[in-house]
């Protein structure tokens, strides 16, 4: 079943065509990687998918519903969650509170019960805290539960963002270079976490430079270059694709 359908998507910044006529689909239950050289438009594409940028033209459909014109905050409710290449952690809060922000859309946002903290409200908060603590455990950050996010190491913050995104209970999780800046053993742990997430039936879209990870983990790979779709297919097909090799290594 098709979860995400992108049709003829373009984004222009003035004269710069950051994304030009890109179409692809993501089937539910798969790990779908988006790769390409620096400046290929991968992060721009993710920003378009998550409502941070508005498309210049084209269509984005999630589970059959058009989402291209929705603001970012409305997309969490549609089942979309993401992490950021350059960390966007709430450093003024604890690790657990960060994850609980991810759960925002499932929690009681009425003002009066918040001010009075009625018993039912307090119980719901405790249940949410327990659930979010389990997510921190799941991504391997259990030790940082009550720690200030500002005091956590880089690798842990990367996984904290994943836990925060998972707290929204998304259908589609978009990860923007989760392995960037991680060492080999941290990358291996991350690899395992992503597989576990996919194992729970959450569709994963992965933007990543670590080719070893991409080729090992992906069901499907989309290659971008200069804002255009260069190729797509299975990891094995991409490894032997002439245009892909040329884009990465240059032509002789």
């Amino acid at each position: 079943m098709t979860l995400l359908r992108v049709s003829a998507l373009s984004k222009h910044f003035g004269g710069l065509h950051a994304i030009e006529d890109v179409s692809f689909t993501i089937r539910s239950g798969t790990i779908h990687s988006i790769i390409g050289p620096n400046g290929a438009g991968k992060t721009t594409l993710l920003n378009l998918l998550t409502g941070i940028y508005r498309p210049s033209s084209g269509r984005i459909e999630l589970a059959g519903q058009p989402i291209g014109d929705l603001p970012a905050h409305a997309l969490a409710g549609r089942g979309l969650a993401r992490t950021f290449q350059n960390l966007q952690v709430f450093t003024n809060m604890t690790a657990l509170e960060n994850v609980m922000v991810g759960r925002h859309r499932h929690l009681d946002q009425r003002l009066l019960p918040s001010l009075l903290r009625l018993p039912g409200f307090a119980r719901a908060e405790a249940a949410a805290a327990e659930r979010c603590a389990a997510l921190l455990e799941f991504v391997g950050c259990g030790a940082y539960l009550g720690a200030d996010a500002s005091a956590m190491p880089y690798g842990a913050l990367k996984r904290l963002e994943i836990a925060r995104a998972l707290a929204a209970e998304p259908m589609l999780l978009l990860l923007d270079e989760p392995a960037a800046g991680l060492n080999a053993s941290e990358t291996a742990e991350l690899d395992a976490v992503i597989r576990k997430i996919a194992g729970q039936g959450i569709t994963v879209a992965l933007v990543e430079h670590d080719m070893k990870m991409v080729m090992g983990i992906s069901d499907h790979v989309l290659v971008l270059d200069h804002g255009r779709k260069l190729a797509e297919g299975t990891p094995a097909e991409m490894c032997s694709h002439e245009a892909v090799i040329a884009a990465y290594l240059g032509t002789a």
Partner: protein, 318 residues
Amino acid sequence: MTGKRRLERHSGEAVLALVLLALPLLLPNAYAYDIAVNAGFNAMVCVGLNLLIGYAGQISLGHAAFFGLGAYASGILTTRYGWPPLAALVCGAAGVGLLSWLLARPVLRLRGHFLAMATLGIGIIISIALNTESWLTGGSDGLMVGDFSVLGRTLSGDRAWYAVVAVLLLVTVSMSRNLIDSPVGRALRALHGSEVAAEVAGIDTARCKVLVFVLSAVLASIVGSLFVHYAGMITPARAGFMRSIELVTMVVFGGMASTYGAVIGAAILTALPQLLTAFEDYETMIFGAIMVGTMIFMPRGLLVTLAGCRWLPRRPAP
């Protein structure tokens, strides 16, 4: 929640309650009571302002105007139109709520200096209006206002006012802390930390900013309404720019993103000018110096700085 966690959650309020109960033993005369009651009024406004500045990371340099509007609404409605004080208070709060809501949407689109300038401008416009519309407000002479009464009981005397303000302060602090530790409160802190990440988490950041702006303005208005009955009069200076700066200084000095910091900042900076009456002409300069000194030497405010260097137990490192 376990009993221990509940105790932890409310330990701050318990300490504040004990301090408020013990304080009358240390207050020698009516003058000292007056300072304490005024500190309580300021503390309540600062707790609200801190939600906006400290937690949500927005700025308002016009909050005294909302305080002033509440005070004038109560003063005008009770003296000129014979309204009961409580009805006037509610009407003033509703009016300020509506006004701040109308202002919030366009104003909170701005960031940093622009937001500061816009709120500053709004504050100045309101205080000018209070000054010039003397047929209604009494102009620069101010407005004399009677006692606060509800259901035939009149609130008067230092001790009675102290008791009422102490209870209201405790309620305000408690509600503020409840809010901070709720999904809405986390949303406010999140949009301060990273607006884009907050949006992606499903938080309508524009709506959250409007909510906290209106909430803090309405609280200032309610406190203004009570103050006007306590003081017996109100002048436009109370709604003016310098008062707004004083309020922000109290929040910054006590500690941003700390409810108790706001209370302590308000208490110290309300009492200080009274203790330094010899320097009355330099009050504005002293506030300015405190603001600058705080920003340079303890940017996280008095409470957090003290907590960071000793006595208070620190969060254990993982």
